[in-house]
């Protein structure tokens, strides 16, 4: 592209995000944070994970957050990690030492309440499902999924993906016209979250419900049992948290004001093309 053309695209404001995308983004940002934090409180009621149909204190757990008389510990398989101060043993806001798994700053509510956390979690689950369904339908109708999210054949070429990974690792994000569209790593991660992680979160959540297991046994069977569903739910939540952290880091690298504005108003100022 000629230097003149670059100058004319960079700095130009384009319309990048539709209303349905923006509305779902912010609704989901709130919902997912509430789900994650109330979910950690629910986990605190029994901080052990198992595989299979059943699992309780006498059965072997593949993950456990616990406390010794002096330390907080995280056990994963045969591995035991000291986590005092963060997991298993921490000091609450009143200065009292607690031996719950996740600390108060990470949970909703702050102080231990399984019933309270379930109220939050099971109400916002409806917001997650209804919001996700509306976004899905809207995005099929306005062709957001087909046009913006579906990768082209060329983008899926290993060489293209590898170059994008190298560019991201160096902090070289697309500029000019290319920045108006999602790059392949964005497309793949958004698709993985929208069609992989979020549906699996909902399915594994439903698989833990005894009423759902009686009515639709295929869900819990597909997941390998109720305790497997609980483990998968926790692993998906961890992956979702990882996505959120990388997503936020990318927003900061790409220019937080421009990025956040584009997700509020839809308008995005094209950054300069990199040399």
């Amino acid at each position: 592209m000629a230097a003149d053309a670059t100058k004319s695209t960079a700095g130009r404001t384009v319309f990048r995000h539709r209303l349905s995308t923006r509305a779902w983004h912010w609704l989901n940002a709130l919902t997912v944070i509430v789900m994650l934090m109330s979910g950690l409180m629910i986990f605190n009621a029994h901080p052990r994970l198992y595989w299979g149909h059943a699992g309780a204190n006498a059965d072997p757990a593949w993950l456990e957050i616990g406390a010794t008389p002096t330390e907080g510990i995280l056990k994963v398989g045969a591995l035991t990690l000291p986590t005092t101060g963060v997991l298993g043993r921490w000091t609450d806001r009143h200065g009292v030492v607690q031996t719950r798994a996740f600390p108060g700053w990470a949970t909703i509510p702050t102080d231990y309440s399984l019933a309270g956390a379930r109220r939050w979690h099971l109400a916002f689950a409806w917001v997650l499902v209804i919001g996700g369904a509306l976004y899905g339908v809207a995005s099929l109708i306005n062709r957001h999924i087909q046009r913006d999210l579906a990768p082209s054949r060329g983008e899926l070429a290993p060489r293209h993906i590898w170059r994008d990974i190298k560019d991201h690792a160096r902090g070289r994000l697309p500029g000019g016209e290319a920045a108006a569209r999602y790059n392949i790593l964005q497309k793949l991660s958004y698709l993985a979250v929208i069609f992989g992680l979020l549906p699996l979160m909902v399915l594994s959540g439903l698989g833990m419900a005894p009423g759902v297991d009686a009515g639709w046994p295929w869900i819990v069977d597909l997941l390998g049992g109720r305790q497997s569903a609980r483990s998968i739910h926790f692993l998906c939540a961890t992956a979702l948290l990882g996505f959120i952290l990388v997503h936020l880091a990318m927003v900061v690298i790409a220019g937080p004001i421009n990025e956040i504005r584009s997700m509020i108003t839809g308008r995005y100022r094209l950054p300069a093309e990199r040399a």
Partner: protein, 248 residues
């Protein structure tokens, strides 16, 4: 380093967390969250078969240890005397909106047709255990007592003292008449242990553990839950804001 991280963390999280805590203790907001319970129950019952059976397992699936939870021993002298006598004088009363109130001994209850089922017990805390339960279908008892068509809920009054009150729970007729809803007197082929609710406990297999009332001494058919305890239908529902519908 720690203090700076903590400071930044609390600055970022403080508005959200204190906001959520404030909402948690606001009755109006909690009523909003509670609306989800009715939605969940309606959706589960609308979409799935109301008489769908909970999965039944094989002997090989039995949990090596069936964990107990909540009350492990009711502790009252009267209960201790019953336990010492092998519950020979225990009576299960069935009353309320019934044509013929009953008082059945354990011998009478064991002589009634029994159902045995190997099911998964799901605690609200998150753990599960698989056990083999034998007991009398609740429907049989309600039919025997002639439950009135006006009865909309079945309340279970228990022998375990929970401070000022005794444990109580309730289910509606959809679950009360379900074929897997039984009053169990045996676990894994043995008389029901005290820790698991001897001599009689409810099994309501499509709901979480706290609905499965232990140490049941009275079954009451009612038209409304308003006059039961705090009016929400169960000990934990009244005291801890747990959901009355525990199918999720």
């Amino acid at each position: 380093m720690w203090s700076r991280r903590r400071l930044i963390g609390s600055l970022a999280a403080a508005p959200l967390v204190t906001g959520c805590d404030r909402l948690t203790y606001s009755e109006g907001f909690r009523d909003g969250l509670r609306a989800a319970e009715g939605l969940t129950m309606a959706a589960q019952r609308l979409i799935s078969n109301r008489s769908a059976l909970a999965r039944e397992f094989d002997e090989a699936d039995l949990s090596p240890v069936f964990r107990s939870n909540g009350t492990r021993h009711p502790g009252s002298p009267a209960y201790a005397a019953h336990a010492a006598a092998g519950f020979a004088d225990w009576r299960l009363r069935i009353d309320g909106l019934v044509a013929r109130p009953l008082a059945l001994s354990m011998a009478q209850i064991r002589s009634l047709p029994a159902r045995t089922q190997i099911t998964r017990h799901d605690c609200v805390e998150g753990w599960s255990a698989i056990g083999k339960w034998t007991g009398v279908p609740l429907k049989l008892l309600l039919d025997g007592a002639g439950a009135s068509p006006r009865a909309r809920y079945i309340v279970f009054h228990c022998a375990d003292d929970m401070g000022p009150v005794r444990y109580y729970e309730s289910i509606d007729m959809v679950d009360a008449l379900h074929p897997q809803t039984i009053l169990a007197w045996a676990l894994n082929g043995q008389p029901l242990p005290i820790a698991n609710g001897a001599p009689l406990r409810l099994r309501v297999e499509r709901q979480l553990g706290y609905k499965h009332a232990k140490y049941v001494e009275r079954i009451e058919a009612v038209a409304s839950l308003a006059a039961i305890g705090g009016g929400k239908g169960g000990y934990w529902e009244d005291r801890g804001d747990y959901e009355w519908y525990a199918g999720i």
